[in-house]
């Protein structure tokens, strides 16, 4: 259980600084440090057991389906990484206390720590993932460890403050991928695919990283690319796949972490003291900060693989392993050669790091006089550098147990014999080291010519720029593609929708004997054509007549009354739309649209024809049967609307209410230019409210109201119903608006249309809820025949109340819509626009 504390304490530490920020920087540093320290202590407490070869496991099932468990598994490798993360993290906290200026948020370090801890220290063991391929893992691992071709993001993150990059680059974040490789090493390694993928990637990364490191003028850039290179080296080692290569890999992880962290901190100190990281401006700093210079030199020597420092040991092992990798047959010489080349480059940039910064001429254009940093800022560097030396000189006494433990758990088996001695005699690896050292120094001496050559070969594009170039191309291509696909034209999108419809109907019906077995009726009918609104009215009328012809009086009534309101609506809109629109479609476009429209028409007609000539077995018999006994109404269509499928109708009037409500919101505050003349330039007539019209529409209102009441009441038994009645009422009222104007009518209609609409829906809904009282589901209807003396038999049906709700909704929303549209002219500026 304490294992989980190792993770959660630093996590807590990450959250604390933002909370303690008011208490000052020291408190922040202390709080974060204390927690990390505690975690480290717990880790150390467990370490003896690990060194003894035990594996401490704390497992909490996470997602067993994927074999994902939240398993904390403290074995050698885990211990190594945890030590690196916590130990270096602790030192960084101390360092950051002095490095970050007052204005930098302390929380940001914590923020990274959080992600770091999450990303690397969570040990997600993916036991069951083995059928899942290598590629994903490698992809993940390579992305994380900044391997080629993903190595660009790492130097790119250089904007981060130095402690953060120190931590990120050397110790932890980027090694998450390496950790993944190491963790999965026993399971995945040893195949040809593994070798070529991992070794190939590693080699490419080693060389590219080293090459770029040499040509970076920015200190941190150099270190960042060097990190890329070293990670490549570790990857390469895991790729070779032998147990000893794995040992070398693990060993190099340790060594790299120590020297690279100290170098990053040294770079930070230099940046802090001189205000620049550009090596062309730096130089001669030995005079100002000898102590720091010494520390940096030791670390750099280790990075270069100079004997007596820890980097040398793992590099020797690396050389030895490249010589033994036998996968490549007669090309086996290639790997050692490339390894030597990489080492040579690494020597060159290490020398450059030291010489260009601490020796030679300079510093140039420095505003302040550099001096040694505060004491405690150097302590972390000293600790790490001491480690470099100790490990380098006394490997067997220092790092061996940890290495053995970590490597054993990496390889997953007993390790073969290996020796951590400094001196192995005159061997091929030693020769390679020597070549690298001498060659590196020579290369450094030739640096100015090389820089010129580099600038000529890659005038603009260094690797990062290449990546940027490639990315920019991809982005440009995406821009182009997206803009080409999404040209913002409704016509295009609508065309695609229609084409989709055409395709699905077409492919489905193609080749089908479309005509079914049912014989046809004889023909009697009419056809249509004309200008738009007019055509629409004609169509509306024709459709209504068709509804009548096919025994649907309710539909004819509805269609007709909707028709009236729609025409009013369209006429209202036409006023504000240009009377003349420029012809925009090209002939080709009109042909295309014509074909598309024709095809769509044909396909829908085919669909209709196909269905109409087939027999139908429908559930409707039930409605005809149950309408009177169950629904209490003889107009089956209406009973379906208010009873069998009353829920649809509730939704439908809700739609109407929302539309009205939305239109009200949409038109509020809208100002439209009102044309002062019609399309031909004629000024409007002066007679706003023609006498005959207003004189007839006023007495018509009571008559229409009575008719609408009649239609409402009889709807349950004969054609009619709330919707039609509502429209009749609304049209009669709108007629008053047309005949006498908004102000006149509004004075006489003291209703809040919104509330009227809402009350309609509410009545309908509450009618439905009322059935709960009788332990029936929502919208269960009930009806009763009441016999009154003298007056006769009356039916009272709850569905009628529902229909009243429909009626009110329709009246309210229609008035809300049309009155608001009509009102537009009142608020719009007249005569603003002339045709």
């Amino acid at each position: 259980m304490t294992l989980s504390l190792i993770i959660f304490l630093p996590l807590l530490g990450a959250l604390l600084p933002p909370l303690f920020i008011r208490l000052g920087r020291t408190a922040c540093a202390w709080s974060a440090g204390l927690l990390a320290g505690t975690a480290l202590a717990i880790l150390l407490y467990h370490s003896p057991a690990v060194f003894a070869g035990e594996t401490l496991v704390f497992t909490q099932p996470w997602l067993p389906a994927l074999g994902l468990n939240f398993a904390l598994r403290l074995d050698g490798l885990g211990l190594l990484f945890a030590l690196l993360i916590l130990g270096i993290g602790l030192l960084i906290i101390l360092y950051a206390r002095y490095y970050l200026s007052e204005h930098d948020p302390m929380g940001i370090v914590g923020g990274y720590e959080l992600s770091v801890v999450l990303a690397s220290a969570e040990r997600i063991q993916a036991h069951a993932l083995y059928p899942v391929t290598l590629v994903l893992i490698l992809l993940g691992a390579f992305t994380k460890s900044a391997q080629f071709p993903f190595h660009f993001w790492l130097p790119h993150a250089m904007a981060a403050p130095t402690p953060v990059s120190a931590y990120l680059h050397s110790a932890t974040m980027v090694k998450a991928g390496v950790f993944l490789l190491a963790r999965l090493f026993p399971a995945l390694s040893g195949t040809e695919l593994w070798f070529f993928l991992v070794t190939g990637t590693g080699t490419a990364t080693v060389l590219l990283g080293a090459y770029h490191a040499l040509f970076k003028h920015d200190l941190k850039g150099l270190l960042a690319y060097s990190t890329v290179s070293h990670l490549g080296l570790i990857t390469l080692l895991f790729g070779i796949g032998t147990p000893l290569a794995a040992v070398a890999g693990v060993f190099h992880i340790i060594n790299h972490a120590t020297f690279k962290a100290s170098l990053f901190m040294a770079a930070g100190i230099i940046d802090h003291e001189t205000g620049t990281r550009d090596m062309r401006r730096l130089g001669g700093l030995w005079r100002y900060m000898p102590h720091t210079a010494t520390l940096a030199m030791v670390a750099a020597a280790s990075m270069a693989g100079v004997p007596l420092f820890n980097g040398f040991l793992s590099k020797e092992m690396f050389f030895a392993e490249t010589l033994h990798a036998g996968w490549m047959g007669e090309w086996s010489w290639l790997l050692p050669l490339l390894a030597t080349l990489a080492a040579l480059l690494s020597v060159a940039y290490s020398v450059r790091f030291i010489h260009d910064v601490f020796f030679g001429t300079g510093p140039k254009d420095i505003t302040r006089t550099p001096h040694e940093p505060p004491r405690y800022m150097k302590v972390p560097v000293e600790v790490l550098v001491a480690l470099c030396l100790l490990v380098g000189m006394l490997p067997a006494w220092t790092v061996a147990p940890l290495l053995t433990a970590a490597a054993t758990s990496t390889v997953g088996a007993e390790l073969p014999y290996y020796s951590l001695a400094i001196w192995h005699g005159f061997t091929l690896p030693l020769l390679m080291s020597l070549i690298a050292l001498v060659g590196g120094v020579i290369l450094y001496l030739l640096r100015f010519r090389l820089f010129a050559l580099h600038d000529r070969i890659f005038p603009i594009c260094d690797a990062k720029a290449w990546f940027e170039c490639g990315l920019a191309r991809t982005v440009d291509a995406s821009h182009w593609l997206t803009a080409w696909l999404e040209n913002g034209s409704l016509q295009r999108y609508a065309m695609l929708l229609v084409a989709s419809m055409l395709v699905v109907i077409g492919t489905s019906l193609w080749g089908l004997p479309l005509t079914g077995p049912v014989p046809m009726d004889a023909v009697d009918g009419v056809t249509l054509s004309g200008a738009l609104v007019l055509a629409l009215s004609v169509v509306g009328l024709v459709v209504s007549v068709a509804f009548v012809r096919f025994s649907a009086p309710d539909l004819a009534l509805t269609q007709l009354s909707v028709e009236m309101v729609t025409i009013l609506l369209l006429m209202l809109a036409l006023y504000f739309l240009p009377q003349h629109s420029p012809a925009e479609s090209s002939a080709a476009r009109r042909w295309r649209d014509g074909l598309l429209a024709g095809g769509a028409g044909l396909s829908v007609a085919a669909l209709a024809w196909g269905v109409l000539t087939r027999p139908l077995e429908t559930i409707s018999g039930y409605f005809l049967e149950q309408s009177v006994p169950g629904g209490g109404g003889s107009n089956v269509v209406n009973v379906i609307l208010v009873d069998f499928r009353g829920f649809d109708t509730l939704g439908e009037i809700t739609v109407l209410a929302i539309a009205a409500f939305g239109i009200y919101a949409l038109l509020r505050g809208l100002r439209l230019p009102s044309p002062s003349a019609d399309g031909e330039g004629r000024p409007w007539a002066e007679d706003r409210h023609p006498l005959i019209l207003s004189a007839v529409s006023r007495p018509l209102l009571p008559l229409a109201l009575v008719v609408s009441l009649y239609i409402l009441l009889r709807g349950h038994n004969l054609p009619g119903g709330g919707f039609i009645a509502g429209l009749v009422t609304a049209v009669a009222l709108i007629l008053q608006y047309v005949a006498s104007g908004v102000v006149w009518t509004r004075e006489r209609l003291p209703f809040d249309y919104i509330k009227l609409t809402a009350s309609g829906v509410l009545i309908a809904t509450l009618t439905g809820v009322a059935s709960w009282w009788f332990a029936h589901p929502f919208l269960t209807s009930t009806f009763e025949y009441i016999h009154l003396p003298l007056l006769g038999k009356f039916e009272l049906a709850s569905a009628m109340v529902f229909d009243v709700g429909v009626y009110l909704t329709v009246v309210g929303s229609t008035l809300l819509i049309l009155a608001n549209l009509g009102k537009l002219t009142l608020v719009s500026q007249p005569h603003e626009e002339t045709e």
């Binding site: 593609l481 696909l485 027999p615 559930i619 169950g630 009873d643």
Partner: protein, 512 residues
Amino acid sequence: MTHTIILPVLLPLLTALVLMFGSQRSLAWKRGVSLAATAALLPLGLLLLQQVYSGAYGVYVLGDWVAPFGIVLVLDRLSALMLVLTALLSLPALLYASHGDDNTGPNFHALFQFQLMGLNGAFLTGDLFNLFVFFEVLLIASYALLLHGAGPARSRAGLHYVILNLVGSGLFLLAVGTLYGITGTLNMADLAVRVAAAGPADAPLLRAAGLLLLVVFALKAALLPLYFWLPRAYSAASAPVAALFAIMTKVGVYSIVRVYSLIFGAQAGLLADAALAWLWPLALATLVLGALGALAARELRTLIAYLVVVSVGTLLAGFALNNSAALAASLYYLLHSTLMAGGLFLLAGLIRTQRGAEGDQLHPAAPVSQPALLGSLFFLAAVAVVGMPPLSGFIGKLLLLSSVTPGTQWIWLWAIVLGSGLLALITLSRAGSQLFWNTLDITPVAPRADRLRLAGVVLLLASAPLLSLFAEPVHRYTQATAAQLYAPAGYIHAVLGERDIPRLTIGLEELP
């Protein structure tokens, strides 16, 4: 008789009506009413989820008219999941909206409630025509919400959105009509029975209807080639509306899953799996184009809109794989992607308000006033969306990738999902660095984020670690859901029982 099933529809409806009545009252009152009602949806959803957790079905027979004659609401694991998801998304969105976004035009809250009513109704209904009606409810509410407040971009995007959806509604009716014309029924369970029994003479017509439905749902879900309207529409909407819209595409996905598992599923005889052949390539192409669109985006909101497109592609590709594990993975991914898209839209809103005139444009501008806070939230969301461990996106994608058996599909899915993940990584790193690192040296002047808004963002983004932490129970539920969906007999039996359904024959008696 338990009425809880219908409450997710009635509660928002009644709330909306109350808000309409109180349209003249204070904003504080409206916010209170709206927030209370929305908050109640979550326990309600959980209660319903608990009712069907073990695999039971809840059938609510509206008007006491038995299926297939009347309309029924059917609660199964999938619908319960969608209800909970809607509740989870809407409350933070509303919290966020309740700090000013609800004030740029009249009646935001009533429209919001209407939208919820439509969503919940669509998830619950067991009747195809009723599904159409609820589509219309949620669409008309979404039109009004999208246009809430003003602005030319909103008007233009809104016009396209509305017109396309109106055509979509027409196609929906054509499909419903054809289905009725052949099968004589509207109840989805009954349709499943009838479609499965269809003979070769009727099958092509039914296929046309089924594929028309696919077109309609694909338009809503934003599938290639019908997603082009989405980026502009979503990026034109206000932050909370865009966040709520994160579920609009999922309604399309839900409908596809429902219709193509129940009516045109594996057991549909001649029409078995009618849509899968179309769905698979289109979903993958959507994924790719969405990822490229995100890369090309010049505004954060557009970028997120494309991420929504990517998520739809991923989800539908998962469904097209046609196996239970893949569907379970997709449903898990659906939860993740919906909540994260919602959270990102809200976060984009915060960033926009803090970045001054530059808004959420992805080029260097003044820094936000809370870089650490917003940056961390963005980082969290990016990690989750890209699919990096350990957050929910990683788990979702991993579940999906591991659900496919080696073969051609395997190669396509792996290549495209991983490739688009990489593109998303690049896209979001670029966006993040533009928004938080490469800032101009200007002191930010915008006020810090309001607590309500921040709460909205944090609540939604917290879903990434939470979905990850509770991946096991959630995935267990989605697995059970997928299993239930691929065994539609249970659904059909729950709705229709053993009843013999009388049918009236029209047309046959005229045959010689």
